[in-house]
């Protein structure tokens, strides 16, 4: 019937506390989504509904923003986030070999997460650290002048 929206306490632990930190204004959408992602790890359907209700905006608007920005994930991500730069400088200095080594080691394609939710891998256009090319960022830590062997060693140290 259209849909009768029902407000109930959220099933996701911590979500209500995150919402409570943000004023109920439309302009809060992106900071709120970032905050949710920091705490929950990704933006679930429930989080989007909760954000929409909290900010009093349509759920479709939230979905539009979440799908527009690559910073937001719609699925649960791995404990370790591996980002391999594919920018021009990194490409020239061998980024293709790095991504090949990483994906082969973890058995997933870029954009995917391992079944045990330990690792997610994604390609990134440029970190702006071209002097260190090729670059790989793992859990916010930047590794420069990476070789395929070094990349695998970094991953192995995390498991």
């Amino acid at each position: 019937m259209g849909r009768i929206v029902t407000l109930t306490a959220s099933q996701t632990p911590g979500l209500d506390a995150v919402l409570a930190r943000h004023p109920c204004e439309e302009s809060q959408l992106i900071p709120l989504l970032q905050d949710i992602q920091d705490h929950v790890g990704y933006i679930s359907a429930e989080s989007m509904r909760a954000a929409a209700t909290h900010l009093n905006i349509p759920e479709s608007s939230v979905y539009g923003v979440v799908t527009f920005y690559s910073q937001f994930y719609l699925t649960r991500q791995g404990r370790h986030k591996v980002k391999v730069c594919q920018g021009t400088a990194c490409h020239v200095r061998g980024a293709v070999e790095i991504i090949r080594a990483v994906t082969a080691r973890l058995g997933i394609k870029p954009g995917e997460t391992t079944r045990d939710f330990e690792f997610s891998v994604e390609r990134v256009a440029c970190f702006g650290s071209c002097a260190l090319a090729p670059v790989m960022v793992v859990n916010e830590k930047v590794y420069g002048n990476v070789t395929p062997e070094m990349a695998i060693r970094i991953l192995d140290e995390l498991t």
Partner: protein, 901 residues
């Protein structure tokens, strides 16, 4: 005063008003500038880059949709430099658009085709990246194929900007951009209300209406037959059937917008179970009869009852669904032909308290200002109106006021209705405590000196009585009664009083109470205390329910009023009507709907004539109504379907639907608008007015008219408020009464400078409790209302499969806490009982309902809410208290069922 600007497009000199865009000015002059993402009524978007032009002394190529005309501007439109760029843009659009024009439903009616043809596109130089069809077929009324979508954003913008629904948005980025409901799910699972605005505006038929399989061969402009919004519609017809419905963009009430019922819910017109021949009940079974037999029988029965028991043993229920002309003929037949004032109609059940209350306070019972004026109000106080569902087009103006003009919206409603999403303040009074709330608001306004003293001094009377009445009505007094915190009551009063243009909108949540008239009077007090009457975008605005409930009242389908609200019991007025109708008339007021039903039960009414009404579902305490209708000696029902009421009749006469007849409807704006024949009547069905004339003639009072136009001329001669109306005057656009003479332009808003009754009158309205409050035996408060997807007793809407699919019978809304306590889960079938009856309903667990209150719509005969409601009435208006009764919910009989939820 608007300034006229002169400018040129391609050397042609044009004029425009200040604020006009180049594109609009060109359109008005009939000059084509290619465009795809512009549509009237929506903000300019500037996304498609096709309406670019060159303007002397302006850099680059600005978009004409977002560039305002300036004096002396020199615009170049159809020139090589501009068209070269447009061609590239068009080629990019075509590169991923399927070129299946011949088999596309938009063929010959596609804006992208227009653009390509204008630019002479031969093909695209770009690599084609056509998607396979990406079809969402989930909505019962329309289909979406994203592969055809050009991402102009008209659908998403009309959904957000215009309708305030926001079911869809552009998701993703780059080539992945797409129109999506949340989670890319089927649109059916979104908040979409199926209004079809997006379908109407899609320039390439990436969205199309499922029922529109063939283009129409003729188009008729008429007025929608559903609600009081009175939308102008264009019915496209072919082979005697309606094949397309469009909103009339030139209609002042809706400017092209429609709701799901008006756009997709007209299947009833050609439903196979329409009544097509007169039926006479013999030995309990209906048998087909000729018109001669049926008319003779009805006339015989009516005359013999009149001769034996007097004219007042007869009563008629006229219809707010029928035209003005038919209502006029109906009441004339009863008053002049049969000799009784026992004529009423379902307005008794919706706005009788409005008519009584506003007439006492202002002198006129109609909406003071038109719907569209909400748009420019500073503050709108909506109470007892679930506007988005019951008056969807009115809601557009309210939402626009908030979103575009920053108006303050106060919603006072026990339920968390959709409109609360836009509300500055939502206060939830307990059903039946409205007077306490309004009195407390007035108390705050008076004690804090927020009122309009000049208005009170100059234009009103009785202020001292009001002041005394509300002296003790502090917000703290009202808090325990209404359940609204005192500071919220203060806030509401201050917000409303602070507005320069404050407008009140209300509906059945206010009127359908034993204190209905008091509720209306209290709202009138509130408006007058703050000087919010008699100016544009102010007023007290009862949103009328049926398409022609305003007209049925105007034309005297009321037991105490002749056409034009002229008193039956005033001897000089009676004399005038006796002269006009050439027969003596009864000097005493007749009975109201509720009284007629009681009198039928007691035997005082022996013959009942019902035209286009279904009291067997619409009236309170149905078990009582059913007995009364069974007991009455003779019941004649004139309708388009075999309704629950018709089943009980002795004679059933087949009538014409709104799409099959000529006449006028008067919408909630008091706007008298044309209704035109679009398709032929089924079988032997006839116009209501023609049937009535034949029966009147047979009862010895000859009535005959050549056409409805002639009837309206007669109405104009006896009813001063309609004095200036005629078919030719309202051919292109309706007129708002009062319109006393042929040169009068109609009246946009009432009470300017002076109230109809002279001075506005304040009435003391002390708070009274509802007739039946919850108690230990019946602990829940039941309040009733409507859903967007159904119309009243579903006689019309149940014939549209999609409406039934979206809103099946019979939901009851209950708060999660109450449900948990009672062990009820969403989708359970539960038993609901009141002191008058028991029904089964499907639990919808939602906090739209406040704790302790359950809500049901009265549409459904399966689990009819009115088997529960109480027939206690307002002492003045005789309107039943549909909004408050006590029920209990039986969990014992609960059967778990989820497939129907």
């Amino acid at each position: 005063m608007s300034v006229e600007l002169t400018f040129t497009i391609d050397g042609v000199s044009l004029t425009a008003q200040k604020g006009d865009t180049v594109l609009n000015a060109a359109k008005a002059a009939g000059i084509y500038i290619p465009h795809l993402c512009f549509s009237e009524g929506l903000e300019s978007y500037g996304a498609c880059r096709l309406c670019i032009v060159e303007i002397d002394d302006v850099r680059g190529m600005p978009t004409s949709c977002s560039t305002q005309v300036k004096e002396g501007m020199v615009v170049h439109n159809d020139v090589a430099s501009v068209n070269r760029v447009r061609r590239m843009v068009c080629e990019m659009l075509i590169a991923d658009h399927p070129l299946v024009c011949l088999s596309c439903s938009a063929n010959m009616n596609c804006r992208l085709q227009d653009v390509a043809a204008f630019l002479g596109i031969k093909g695209s130089r770009l690599r084609r990246m056509v998607r396979k069809p990406i079809v969402d077929d989930s909505n019962p009324f329309y289909t979406r194929d994203l592969s055809k979508c050009i991402l102009c954003g008209l659908c998403t913008r009309s959904c957000h900007e215009l309708r305030g629904v926001g079911a869809i948005e552009i998701a993703g980025r780059g080539f992945e951009s797409r129109i999506a409901a949340p989670g890319d799910g089927p649109v059916r699972d979104s908040t979409c209300t199926s209004c079809g605005e997006c379908v109407d505006r899609c320039p390439v038929n990436a969205l199309w209406a499922k029922h529109e399989t063939l283009p129409p061969t003729a188009t008729v402009r008429t007025t929608c037959g559903y609600c009081g919004c009175g939308c102008g519609i264009e019915l496209g017809t072919r082979g005697g059937k309606i094949v397309r419905v469009r909103g009339d963009r030139s209609a002042p009430s809706n400017r092209g917008s429609l709701c799901v019922k008006g756009r997709f819910g007209l299947d009833f017109v050609s439903a196979p179970d329409r009544l097509t021949t007169p039926l006479i009940k013999r030995n309990g079974v209906f048998k087909e009869a000729t018109w001669e037999e049926a008319l003779d029988l009805v006339a015989d029965k009516l005359t013999s009852i009149r001769d034996q028991h007097g004219a007042d043993a007869l009563a008629g229920l006229s219809s707010a669904k029928c035209t003005n002309e038919e209502n006029y003929v109906f009441q004339k037949f009863f008053r002049a032909g049969l000799g009784t004032n026992n004529v009423d109609h379902c307005a008794r059940l919706c706005h009788a308290s409005t008519v009584a209350g506003l007439a006492r306070a202002f002198g006129s019972g109609a909406m003071t200002n038109p719907q569209i004026e909400f748009e420019h109000a500073d503050c709108i106080f909506v109470t007892g109106s679930n506007t988005t569902e019951a008056h969807p087009i009115t809601a557009i103006s309210i939402i626009k006021a908030v979103v575009e003009h920053g108006a303050t919206l106060i919603v006072a409603d026990p339920r968390r209705i959709d409109l609360t999403r836009y509300a500055t303040l939502h206060i939830r009074q307990r059903s039946g405590t409205d007077v306490a709330l309004f009195n407390a608001m007035i108390h705050v306004i008076i004690t804090e000196g927020l009122g309009d003293d000049a208005f009170i001094q100059g234009r009103t009377e009785g202020f001292e009585a009001l002041k005394a009445c509300v002296a003790d009505c502090t917000p703290e007094w009202a808090e325990p009664i209404t359940g609204i915190p005192a500071d919220k009551i203060r806030e509401a009063a201050r917000l409303y009083a602070a507005a320069d243009r404050g407008s009140i909108a209300y509906s059945m949540g206010i009127t359908q109470h034993t204190t209905g008239t008091d509720n209306v009077l209290a709202l009138a007090n509130l408006a007058m205390v703050t000087g919010n009457v008699g100016r544009a975008s102010t007023g007290v605005n009862p949103l009328r329910g049926q398409n022609n409930v305003q007209g049925a009242c105007d034309l005297g389908a009321l037991p105490n009023k002749y056409p034009g609200y002229q008193d039956v019991e005033a001897p000089d007025i009676r004399k005038r009507f006796e002269a006009a109708w050439k027969t003596p008339l009864s000097p005493t007021n007749g009975l109201t709907v509720t009284e007629i039903v009681s009198a039928a039960g007691s035997g005082a009414i022996r013959g009942l004539y019902v035209m286009g009404e279904n009291p067997m579902l619409s009236d309170p305490n149905l078990n009582h109504v059913e007995q009364a209708l069974k007991d009455v000696e003779f019941l004649c029902v004139q309708d388009i379907f075999m309704t629950e009421t018709a089943e009980l009749a002795d004679v059933v006469l087949p009538a014409a639907s709104f799409a099959e007849k000529d006449g006028t409807f008067t919408n909630t704006d008091r706007r008298v608008q044309r209704v035109r024949t679009a398709v032929p009547k089924p079988g032997e069905a006839r116009d209501d007015w023609a049937i009535l004339c034949d029966i009147a003639t047979r009862t010895g009072y000859p009535m005959a008219y050549a056409s409805p136009s002639e009837i309206l001329d007669e109405i104009a001669s006896v009813s001063p408020i309609y004095g200036g109306l005629s078919f030719d005057r309202i051919a292109s656009e309706g007129l708002q009464w009062p319109c006393p003479d042929r040169d009068h332009p109609g009246t946009t808003f009432l009470h300017e400078g002076e109230f109809k009754r002279g001075k506005g009158k304040f009435h003391a309205t002390p708070f009274k409790v509802a007739a039946e409050e919850p108690d230990t035996d019946y602990p829940f408060l039941l309040t009733t209302g409507r859903y967007l997807y159904h119309w009243h007793t579903r006689t019309m809407t149940s014939r549209t499969k999609g409406l039934e699919e979206i809103c099946p019978p019979t939901p009851i809304e209950i708060h999660p806490d109450d449900a948990a306590l009672a062990g009820i889960e969403h989708g359970d079938i539960i038993e609901v009982s009141s002191r008058r009856g028991t029904i089964e309903a499907n639990a919808h667990v939602t906090d739209r309902s406040p704790r302790g209150t359950v809500f049901m719509a009265f549409h459904f005969h399966e689990g009819a809410a009115n088997r529960l409601t109480i027939d206690a009435v307002d002492p003045i208006a005789k309107i039943p208290e549909f909004k408050v009764c006590a029920v209990r919910i039986s969990t014992a009989a609960t059967t778990k069922k989820t497939d129907n939820a």
